[in-house]
């Protein structure tokens, strides 16, 4: 670990400079997915199934193609056959084959000379359906007699005798569960449900694709990961990845929902069919809600044993999750290990099932699986704390995971900061505020693993000594600023002298998307390594100029200087001076780093919320909100706070308002922001934040990813606060005014 990390003294890290993309974004100049145009461009529209489950008997595009200006129509017949596994899933979701699997499933696409004409043409494409029985709810989908969505889709793990819609099963744990429950003074068992929610990024998916007969093409697209777009689109279309050059636009939010493809291959397929003309495809909000994202819905049973003084003796869960009509899409594999990640348990057991339903193919959403798991587990912990009249923070401290704890999912924890977040929450003034009538307070903790992943970064010294850093992780929340700060810190130069660019697939090796809270961690770590490489080269150039050994040169304050008195007396050679001569001292100077980044540190958080419930309407008002989370080290604290606040707001929406509402016909009934109601400014108070810094030993500056953890605690924290305020415990989300009011009335009899 470098010296500056050990001392914790930094020149730039921890400061709050303006973000490099700020000016473009406040003036309307920043270019997002739908802002890109190309000469001779066509526009596309998609025909979507109005049925939750239907056999496609016939598609007739004659009338559409007869319109002047309509250039191409594609259906599944235009895509290659023989794909398997996740590639087949992706192709199947891009365009339905024999069967449309959910309301909104794409069936055909058309390209025309204007967007309005393309929409007209889409309405003229005639599709004949044979409607099939459908199933939406996760428990209903695994019950006897439920319509079978895909025969034979279950993998090796599913026990015999289960419904064919059950496609994955997992089970793990440690310790003696029976003995643990026997040692408890109180054993409680409850069931919880969460509905599907959508990532809700304000920018709908948009792309501009061009593909020639020779199989070479280009794409401009809003995405969290353009190498994923390249690989997935190439697989779906049967073209070679290197022939597709993908450039990311600015991205108008992603939250996991833009880590995969939904319609990008359609633009390319239409382009190829239309003689290689570029094709622009922009989704409507209804298409976004019906056919992209969302997250899984979940049905969960939890059992916990606790002693009178709050020690948890044993715990178990049984979770069922549906992630749409596609195998492998639910986050059951993440939800289970997240369930008890905050606890040090002598005995714990997890069982999970993934179930198919006639819903869209789920995509990752901020800490996939963790919010549902937290809702179930943290809710029951809270119920038991109240029953035993114990402080919920004290109970979590008593059982909290720390360095050396054997985690609920197996491995032993490295240095983690859960206990620090609990202590800070307890000491925060919000926790001492006295509550009034109809008010309640809720506490919950949450966890996310974080991820390193495939990362390639290039750093080049310019002729004047300023520096460009090329990264492959699209910037969603200010990561260019954070990565620029780290590179400038390492190089010993001004933040303003470093420009960080998110570059296209042709400019770097493969990068995984901005996902798993990894951009600042992994691209930042690689940028620091690349800077070190450039520094070594600059020291070598200085050594040659001075005619002293390389080892006798050190890098300090943005300049090479002789190390110690024996190296000779030379004035420092600044980065600008070295750069100005680099052409005559050996050529351009750059640094690269390519790695599957390891050393991620998990991030834990604890939230405290106060609410007031209106006894006449059941409406919950959030009075104050506190997020305490471990950032390892906050490179740019304003953007760390932004992640905490944004995650909390999404969690509050999930807890109180947001849900996918399906009709009896299996159609999504709220595919617009009016009815799919994400939190608005007047729904929320200021969101207080405390940044805990327990440095991650796996990062040169101690960074832990911070993007995801914050969405999990709000679900159970709000349920606990509502329970205290309204006297009713809601075990299914969202806690809409109608649901809370009904529960209050039922309690009164």
């Amino acid at each position: 670990m470098p010296k500056d990390n050990a001392t914790g003294e930094f020149r730039l890290i921890g400061t709050r400079p303006n973000r490099p993309d700020g000016l473009d974004k406040v003036t309307g100049r920043a270019r997002y997915g739908a802002d890109i145009v190309a000469p001779n461009m066509l526009h596309a529209a998609v025909v979507r199934s109005p049925h939750a489950h239907a056999r496609i008997k016939k598609i007739d595009a004659t009338k559409a193609l007869a319109l002047e200006g309509v250039k191409a129509v594609v259906t599944r017949a235009d895509l290659p056959k023989g794909l398997t596994g996740e590639d087949l899933n992706l192709q199947e979701n891009t365009l339905a084959g024999d069967v449309a699997l959910y309301d909104g499933h794409a069936v055909a696409a058309v390209a025309a000379s204007s967007a309005l004409l393309a929409q007209d043409a889409a309405r003229l494409i005639e599709v004949e359906y044979e409607v099939l029985p459908h199933v939406i709810d996760v428990d209903a989908a695994m019950a006897k007699g439920a319509p079978v969505i895909r025969e034979g889709a279950a993998d090796y793990s599913v026990p015999e005798g289960m419904h064919p819609n059950v496609v994955r099963h997992m089970e793990f744990g440690h310790g003696d569960l029976e003995a643990g429950f026997a040692a408890a003074d109180l054993v409680r068992e409850q069931s919880y449900k969460t509905e599907a929610t959508h990532q809700g990024y304000i920018e709908p998916h948009a792309c501009l694709g061009q593909l020639g007969e020779d199989g070479r093409g280009e794409m401009w697209v809003c995405t969290q990961g353009h190498w994923y777009i390249r690989r997935m689109s190439a697989a779906v279309l049967g073209i070679e990845a290197a022939n597709l050059r993908v450039t990311p636009s600015e991205i108008g939010g992603g939250f996991g929902g833009k880590t995969t493809i939904f319609m990008e291959p359609l633009a390319l397929a239409l382009s190829r069919k239309a003689g290689g003309r570029p094709v622009k495809l922009v989704m409507s909000r209804a298409e976004v809600l019906r056919a992209t994202g969302p997250t899984a819905s979940a049905s969960m049973d939890v059992k916990i044993g606790m002693t009178k003084d709050g020690k948890i003796t044993a715990a178990s869960v049984n979770f069922r999750m549906q992630g749409g009509a596609f195998v492998g899409m639910s986050p059951i594999g993440e939800a289970l290990p997240c369930a008890f990640a905050c606890y040090d348990l002598p005995a714990v057991h997890h069982v999970g099932y993934e179930v198919l339903a006639n819903r869209p193919k789920a995509a990752a959403y901020r800490a996939p699986g963790s919010p549902m798991a937290a809702f179930a587990v943290e809710s029951l912990v809270d119920e038991m704390c109240r029953e035993l009249k114990l402080d919920p923070i004290d109970v979590r401290l008593k059982n909290g995971a720390k360095e050396g704890t054997k985690s609920s999912y197996g491995p032993v924890y490295n240095r983690i900061g859960l206990v620090e977040t609990l202590e800070a929450a307890k000491a925060h003034p919000n926790y001492a505020i006295k509550l009034g009538p109809n008010q309640g307070r809720g506490v919950a903790s949450g966890f996310w693993f974080n991820h390193g992943g495939e990362t390639s970064v290039s750093l080049a010294i310019g002729e004047d000594g300023t520096v460009q850093v090329s990264i492959g992780t699209p910037d969603i929340g200010g990561s260019r600023a954070s990565i620029g700060l780290m590179a400038a810190e390492k190089l010993g130069i001004a933040y303003e002298d470093v420009r960080v660019n998110v570059v296209e697939t042709g400019a770097l090796g493969v990068n995984e998307p901005t996902h798993g809270s990894r951009a600042t961690f992994a691209s930042g770590k690689a940028a620091v390594e690349a800077a070190e490489q450039a520094i070594r080269e600059m020291c070598r150039r200085a050594a040659k100029e001075w005619d002293i050994p390389e080892e006798a040169v050190e890098w300090k304050d943005g300049a090479a200087m002789p190390a110690g008195p024996n190296a000779g007396k030379f004035p420092p050679m600044s980065i600008a001076e070295i750069a100005s001569k680099m052409g005559s001292t050996g050529g351009p100077i750059s640094g690269h780093h390519e790695v599957t980044a390891e050393g991620v540190g998990a991030s834990f958080g604890t939230h405290v919320v106060d609410v007031e419930v209106d006894p006449e309407t059941g409406r919950t008002t959030v009075l104050r909100y506190l997020v305490v989370q471990d950032a390892g080290r906050a490179i740019h604290p304003a953007y760390v706070e932004g992640q905490y606040q944004g995650g909390a707001a999404q969690g509050i929406g999930w807890a109180l308002n947001e849900e996918y509402v399906y009709g009896e016909d299996g159609r999504l009934q709220n595919p617009m922001f009016l009815d799919y109601r994400i939190p608005v400014a007047s729904d929320l108070p200021m969101i207080d934040t405390v940044i805990i810094e327990v440095p991650n030993p796996g990062h040169p500056y101690g960074v832990r990813g911070v993007g995801e953890t914050g969405i999990s605690p709000p679900l159970p924290a709000l349920a606990a606060a509502v329970a205290e305020a309204a006297g009713v415990r809601l075990r299914s989300l969202p806690m809409t005014p109608a649901k809370v009011l009904a529960a209050m009335r039922a309690r009164k009899g």
Binding site: D155, S157, E171, G333, Y409, F449
Partner: protein
């Protein structure tokens, strides 16, 4: 010998073993040795697993070293938002 802990549904594919001991110096050698010892595990491992070696979760790094005394856990492959 490194000790590899299998999650329950994998155990059926490994003759019921909860822990498999393998001779391996890297994550890749460990996965290959597991499949060699229990060919039934091949589809599960090909489908993708995350590996926890002692206190570190390794999503995808075959050359990461493991030590003779390492405790290894196979986990479902983890996704992130």
């Amino acid at each position: 010998m490194a000790r590899v802990h299998l999650w329950s549904s994998l155990r059926r594919l490994a003759g019921g073993a909860e822990v498999v001991e393998v001779e391996a110096a890297t994550v890749g050698q460990m996965l290959d040795a597991l499949v060699k010892a229990h060919p039934g595990l091949a589809p599960a491992i090909e489908a993708g697993v995350s590996v926890a070696v002692d206190d570190e979760i390794i999503a995808n790094a075959r050359h990461s070293p493991i030590h003779p005394e390492s405790e290894i856990y196979l986990l479902q492959r983890l996704k992130g938002g």
